[in-house]
């Protein structure tokens, strides 16, 4: 069967022939000074007067101000990715403490983000492993340049300043966390699927009897009628998808760390089912581990994996080589 010729392609558009560009403009008045548009030249360059040397108070908005504002609540050190393995309990003295077991599987530093280049300080962390065939070409090139095997999961952890950045390729083990320190755990909650108003938002529902007919768990009215706008206000709580959204549990205590098993035990429950990938980082509302411990942890990183910088350099060179090969191959084809 021959391919069908699209009939409409050849026909010229009516508007393209007859209308000049000015006629194509919408008839709604949207072009004018009060809509934020003017033909006049800009009246001044306000940045000229807002320099730090002008003797004005520091700006309270903008990227620098935002970083300053968040300084105290940004952790000093990077967090890690882990997999929720289940819950158990341990006895501390007489008291029984329930805890969640998190396994850190091949947690590595992938990249650092800097204030100069990206606008903030952060560490990119990877977890687990992925087969090369299940990774896209751009990402394969990314890992190639880092000298790291493809990861199952990537995440970014903001840190306060330059001190928090780590050497690329360093593997973080559970003793990155100090026994007894506090961490914030962030994970997606269990997905509940499409849920009604009673389950999703805790609505009261309707009565079982007194003439009620087939409306026992419905949400009822969604707003006033004529006079109240005759519309449903945006954000009205209604039935819909419930769960599977990021939830943070703050200030969980680290009860146990085990490098051999690769586990961190934190007190209490955390969101999500077993097997969920979670993010844990030093608590933003509690004190970070003391300076000697932080220094020791960094020293241990160096001891366990010496020469990370050289490895990275080698990987970069290898990446350039492979890139040239790929480009040559493309040119041939």
């Amino acid at each position: 069967m021959p391919p069908r010729i699209p009939i409409r392609v050849a026909l010229p558009r009516f508007a393209a022939i007859n209308c000049s560009p000015s006629l194509l403009l919408p008839h709604i008045p949207q072009r004018g000074i009060k809509y934020g548009w003017s033909t006049a030249p800009p009246r001044s360059k306000h940045k000229r007067f807002n320099q730090p040397s002008a003797g004005l108070p520091a700006l309270t908005t903008g990227p620098a101000a935002a970083l300053k504002r968040r300084e105290n609540t940004t952790p000093l050190r990077t967090g890690v990715l882990a997999i929720k393995k289940g819950m158990t309990s341990i006895f501390q003295g007489k008291t029984r403490v329930v805890c969640t077991v998190l396994q850190m599987d091949q947690v590595q530093v992938i990249a650092n983000k800097t204030r100069e280049k990206h606008g903030y300080w952060a560490v990119q962390i990877g977890l687990g492993a992925r087969q090369g065939r299940n990774v896209t070409s751009p990402m394969l090139g990314y890992y190639e340049a880092k000298g790291i095997a493809p990861k199952a999961e990537l995440a970014e952890f903001k840190v306060r300043d330059q001190e928090g950045l780590l050497p690329v390729g360093a593997q973080l083990l559970p003793d990155w966390f100090q026994l007894g320190q506090h961490v914030d755990v962030r994970a997606r909650s269990r997905g509940m699927g499409f849920a009604g108003g009673m389950k999703r938002h805790g609505f009261a529902g309707q009565e079982a009897s007194h003439g009620n007919s087939k409306n026992h768990r419905t949400i009822g009215s969604t707003g006033p009628s004529q006079g109240g706008g005759s519309r449903v206000i945006p954000g009205k709580k209604m039935p819909g998808r419930m769960g599977n959204e990021f939830r943070t549990v703050q200030n969980l205590k680290v009860l146990k760390v085990d490098n051999e098993l690769g586990v961190v035990l934190v007190s209490g429950p955390i969101p999500g089912p077993k097997g969920r990938i979670v993010r844990l980082q030093d608590s933003k509302k509690r004190k970070a581990p003391a300076l000697p411990y932080r220094v020791k942890a960094l020293e241990q990183l160096d001891e366990r994996q010496p020469g990370l910088q050289e490895k990275l350099e080698q990987a970069r060179l290898r990446h350039l080589e492979m890139q040239a090969q790929r480009q040559a191959h493309v040119a041939e084809v």
């Binding site: 158990t88 341990i90 091949q106 090369g132 065939r133 070409s137 098993l261 586990v263 790929r326």
Partner: protein, 220 residues
């Protein structure tokens, strides 16, 4: 007469239909049997288009070796962790043995147990139910306080539980895992104080006998 004939003919039709149906399935079986081995032998060693593309893609990149993973050595850390905690709380393994399934002389539901805690008086009652959860393994005892039925859960590995004794063994094995029927007035065991006092008396007698025996040995 007419009706019977009609029924007979219907029966014939039914049988004939059944026969054709069987034949059909038989043919279908043969057809698939004949077709499957030839296709399988061709595709077994060949890559699909997609697999080929994947291999080609991967071959263009350097893939670096992986760092050591605890997932390889300990895919599931939970049993190990539970065992570690049990070993810490019960170094002699006495508690594990007392409630193990493998020993005939372990405590079984239906027995009367006495749990001594650091907190206060020992609590004794019928062993109604057991919840086996590794370190969190717990037992439910139903006793009586001030003529009121009282049930209490005890974590068997808890450091606050200093001792668990079997006061009385049920002569016949309980045929339920959970003896919830013992809450009903008809089956309620009521107070177990008489059993406890009998057990204490017996134990006292045994102890004194042992002492006497020991004394004799010293004399010799």
């Amino acid at each position: 007469m007419n009706a019977a004939v009609a029924r007979q003919s219907m029966g014939c039709l039914k049988a004939a239909l059944r026969r054709t149906r069987y034949q059909k399935t038989w043919q279908r079986c043969l057809a698939t049997e004949a077709a499957s081995p030839s296709t399988a032998s061709i595709t077994k060693n060949a890559y699909s288009q997609r697999q080929h593309m994947d291999k080609q893609k991967v071959s263009k990149f350097q893939i670096w070796p992986q760092v050591p993973s605890p997932r390889a050595t300990h895919p599931d850390p939970m049993p190990t962790l539970k065992q570690q905690e049990i070993a810490r709380l019960d170094p002699t393994g006495a508690r594990t043995r007392l409630f193990s399934r493998d020993h005939a002389d372990s405590a079984k539901v239906g027995d009367v147990l006495m749990v001594t805690t650091k907190a206060g008086e020992p609590f004794s009652g019928a062993f109604i139910q057991m919840r086996r959860r590794g370190v969190d393994t717990a037992i439910l005892l139903r006793g009586q306080l001030m003529k009121t039925g009282v049930e209490t859960w005890f974590k068997i590995y808890s450091p606050t539980v200093t001792g668990i004794d079997i006061i009385w063994r049920k002569p016949k094995r309980a045929r339920r895992a959970r003896l919830t029927f013992m809450r009903k007035p008809k089956h309620d065991m009521g107070s177990v104080d008489n059993l406890v006092s009998a057990w204490k008396k017996e134990r006292y007698a045994l102890r004194s006998k042992a002492k006497q025996g020991g004394g004799k040995q010293i004399r010799r």
